[in-house]
Amino acid sequence: MTRLTRRSFATFLGASALTLAAPATLRAQTGPRLLVIGGGFGGASAARFARMAYPEVAVTLVEPWPTFITCPYGNLILGGKQTLPRITHSYDGLRARGVNVVQDRAIEIDADAKSVRLAGGAVLGYDKLILSPGIALQWGAIEGYDEAAAEVFPHAWMGGDGSQITNLRRQLEALPEGGVVGLAIPANPFRCPPGPYERISMIAHYLKQANPRAKILALDAKEGFSKQGLFQDGWAELYGDMIEWVPGNLDGRIVRVDTENRLFISEFGEEHRVDVGNVIPPQSAATIAIDAGLADETGWVPIDPRTFAARAASDIHVIGDATIAPPMPKSGYVANSTSKVAVAAALSELTGRAAPEDPVFFNTCYSHVGADYGISVVGVYRVTEDGIVETPDSGGISPRGPLSDLAEQRRLEAVYADGWYASITRDMFS
């Protein structure tokens, strides 16, 4: 942070000169500067909300990819229910709202100078920073699982350019008749807790039609998972014995992969041969947050739950999957919900508006288990002296019971899930 490269020294000089030469008048003309890093569920929602609610604020969004491919609904590509173009979103709507969208990768934050350096060389100053950087995959945490191995055993856990999810779909289409699809699923915490199980469901949905004798072997580092009863009810109802889920206490944790021989190797040395492998590796906050010193020893970023300001830097509000905010899940809806409180908190001082005092955060995670079969978990969260807590006697999961009794509930939840997707992506990008 104190190391002065030639470039940052020049920026430092430039910034100081500007500050000295241009006091309140210039500031009033240009308005406060909000910089948003990351154009996903947290960052895009933040940028759009800031433009709508605080029109006097200049908003810049830095995002390396030209378009955003959502992780939610990515599993539906595997199930043959969605296509990549339909879950790809343009930043043009944000540009039309006056957001300065910069396609580049932010690589270094200088919290003292309040500036961010981009891979292309530019340095952007800010008054407040919203950092919504997402996750980093822990290459090597599973022995043998690096970027090259991810071409053989795709993770498909980050949108990126869409090649990961496309790779996995292509491999499923090429699965030998009666072949084995293996999934390696990490311990908590990780992005999208119900995601791996929706993925299992959507793969089964596809295989039931295309390759009905195929098997899905889900090897999990955990003993339990999100909406477990609902998922397992659905698997039994829709897919018979196609799916085998192996929990951590039954040697489900995968510690090594061998791409050449297509093996998943468990903690106690059992070798599982898979025809198609999907490895969802352990994760941390994205590198930029760790490099900036915002993360703690867990690899995730502690925040003040009322403002989402980083504990380590009060002018940087961190939102989305990179944060430590239990019991809220690392979900797109939580990133969207918290982004607005973070923006309001960040801009209150600069704009003279009231800061949010008692924020209420909201989450719904829908999952598709099959055709016309949706389930959900809902949470309404508040901040108390014990941190973030779920509001008592509210939220929770869809009702359980025989499909014959609940077919309409399951059908409607699948339909409402589609409505959620359409609405939340509009709340990010339109």
Partner: protein, 103 residues
């Protein structure tokens, strides 16, 4: 329209004490942002998710309380409704009833 909006916001944040004079009103009060994820930023609804903009204030509250009591068939609103206090529901009703009923 903006005046009504402003009123909703003042009601919504009455809990948080005196407010400074505001140059611009937020588009949607923070408490109502939770609704935006499914019902849209202006309560316009999308796909199968119903429009709630322009809903009569009393009907909005009565519907909410029916969800809370489990008296109205629901998929998820019966889980959401008990998570909000009566004054928060009143703020939501103020805001959404003040929006235009038609697209």
């Amino acid at each position: 329209m903006m005046k009504k909006l402003g009123l909703a916001i003042v009601v919504g944040s009455a809990l948080s004490g005196p407010m400074p004079l505001m140059a611009h009103e937020p588009v949607t009060p923070l408490i109502a942002q939770a609704c935006a994820g499914c019902h849209g930023q202006s309560g316009e609804g999308l796909g199968a998710v119903p429009r709630i903009a322009g809903k009569d204030r009393a009907v909005f509250i009565a519907t909410w309380e029916a969800f809370r009591a489990g008296e109205k068939p629901a998929t998820i609103m019966n889980r959401i409704a008990p998570g909000y206090t009566e004054s928060e529901v009143a703020a939501l009703a103020d805001y959404f009833s003040a929006l235009r009923a038609e697209p």
